[in-house]
Symmetry: C2
Subunit: 337 residues, 2 copies
């Protein structure tokens, strides 16, 4: 029944038969798991432990398809990564969709396929969902909220443990997500051929944190980029962080596109990278472990926490000058995630 219609209309969000058909024919079919299949208003879950991480993220990225990923994969990976950097194994996610009337069915299907594929690969269940349809013009195509539950395997990760001499590691090259989304915008007109780094960090990070107690704190540098994330850390710990520009992995394509656009790649969003703050004694062995994983092959020690109380992020440039990486104030790129 649903398949004879070509576009989403308001009846698909009505709570009536059209919505039930849509849920059965698309969501339940593609996202099937034993918990979701009850289709109750809430999912009933048995957790293995009582200490959990809980996170939420709304995704409004534009365009919804871009080189390397789409809004569906982004939503699942984004929520997985928020749990992972907190020290938790991602287990269950919810899926809240807001659709614009007139959205083509095949687009919705492609996005749900992408969500299903990512969730399956990462062994995460979509256990509960909600669907709203708004009239044309009341939202831009599709917005997705994913909230996530994870079982905490490290509850000693804390920003409070960071101290001078700790090393800063980035798990790979920066700026790719930001430039991929930018290239995808019609009005930009330049395709730099850069793929978003959008990916789940679970496979890279979870085995690592089980093993390495020297990891003190982690964050994924999404909106605001590396500079944003490090400024949040430095202002919270009230010590400065000194980075070495030449150590920070940036792909040539990203470097030249950034120069062309006059954009600072340190502020560009990443969607598959982690910043780790680690004890200096274990930094080398952690780096070695990171290098063994495909997602961590470009990881590098890029700086350290220093005994300086301004709480700033300082960059030692390639020419050995020092510049301050200020916290981002305004948006470099709205709707990046």
């Amino acid at each position: 029944m649903v398949y004879r219609l070509e576009k989403i209309n308001l009846s698909h969000g009505s709570g009536g038969l059209a919505m039930q058909e849509l849920i059965k024919n698309i969501f339940l079919k593609k996202l099937y798991n034993p918990i979701l299949s009850t289709l109750d208003d809430s999912a009933v879950i048995d957790l293995k432990i009582k200490r959990i991480a809980f996170t939420t993220d709304s995704f409004v990225v534009s365009p919804i398809f871009f080189k390397g990923a789409d809004i569906g994969k982004l939503a699942v990976c984004g929520t997985i990564n928020d749990l992972v950097v907190e020290g938790a194994i991602p287990r269950f996610i919810s899926l809240g969709l807001i659709l614009e009337e007139g959205l083509e069915f095949f687009i919705l299907e492609k996005i749900i396929d992408s969500i299903a594929k990512t969730a399956k690969r990462e062994n995460v269940y979509v256990v509960t969902g909600d669907l709203k349809v708004v009239e044309k013009g009341a939202c831009d195509k599709i917005f997705i909220n994913t909230s996530g539950l994870g079982e905490l395997i490290r509850d000693d990760l804390s920003i409070k443990k960071i101290k001078p001499t700790d090393k800063i590691i980035i798990s790979g090259s920066i700026g790719e997500h930001g430039l991929s989304v930018l290239s995808g915008r019609k009005n930009q007109g330049i395709d730099f051929g850069i793929k978003s780094d959008c990916s789940s960090l679970a496979g890279l990070i979870l085995p690592l944190i089980k093993k390495n107690k020297g990891i003190k704190f982690m964050r994924d540098p999404t909106r605001g980029g590396l500079a944003g994330t490090l400024n949040e850390i430095s202002s919270a710990i009230k010590y400065s962080i000194l980075l070495e520009e030449e150590k920070i992995p940036i792909k040539d394509k990203v470097r030249s596109a950034s120069e062309l656009l006059g954009i600072d790649p340190f502020y560009l969003a990443n969607e598959g990278k982690a910043v780790l703050v680690v004890d200096k004694k274990e930094a080398q062995s952690i780096l070695k472990d990171l290098h063994k994983h495909p997602l961590g092959k470009d990881s590098a020690i890029i700086g350290e926490v220093i005994e300086e109380k301004r709480g700033k992020v300082l960059l030692k440039t390639i020419t050995s000058g020092i510049r301050i990486l200020e916290p981002p104030i305004e948006d470099l790129l709205p709707r990046i995630c």
Copy 2:
């Protein structure tokens, strides 16, 4: 700093300083609790039990303020009620906001105040959140996602336990939320003076389900109304439900407004009502308990499950005819929640 600006702009969703100021000055101040205050990407939670209910809901109601409630109260109560009817004590909620550039600060503040007040009264913590700002025209003012976690106190509630002779109870009069939102729309122009029934069912339902094992299954009849909810039940159990029109509580104002508009009140959304399916032997004592609570004073036994396998909802009208309440197909009112 935030207070000098009068409207939301894109920088408030940037992940930079403007966003941090907004979070500190409005969200953290109004929604303060020990878990939220860490402002981590995920909240770390210690649950009392490992068996939980998990739910998500996006709210796109238009208008965002209406007689009796607003989108903030609606979002918190809606998610609380989804947990309660599943047999869980609501404990933690997430808050995902999508704001339209240009939204006035005082409106955002009023909504956050409403969320804070409702959460506090219901003893629920907002523990994690996310904020996105989209350009003018890309969403209609404000959309809210609330996901919720509750601790299950009854894990024997199940649609599968329903059998013929079970009684159907509604916890109060129907149709008020739907008509309140309808009246609030500018282009409707008629104010029927009807207040939304938007409220948390926790105080009414949780003590009741602890005590009364005769309660087999519950739902809150929101989108699609009483007719929608009962059709979902009857089609799942494959027995019909017979309602007695004269027993269904409807306020005079709702009845006359529905007649004037040519709308069937059985399909109007409710946001503070529960449908209970109960063992007939305990129906009277459950009703007595419901009547003791202010939110349950108009509750009534409105029908029963009958030995008829069509899985339909039948209405015995006041004139003793029988009509079928078909499942809703299209939306009576889009953006009702």
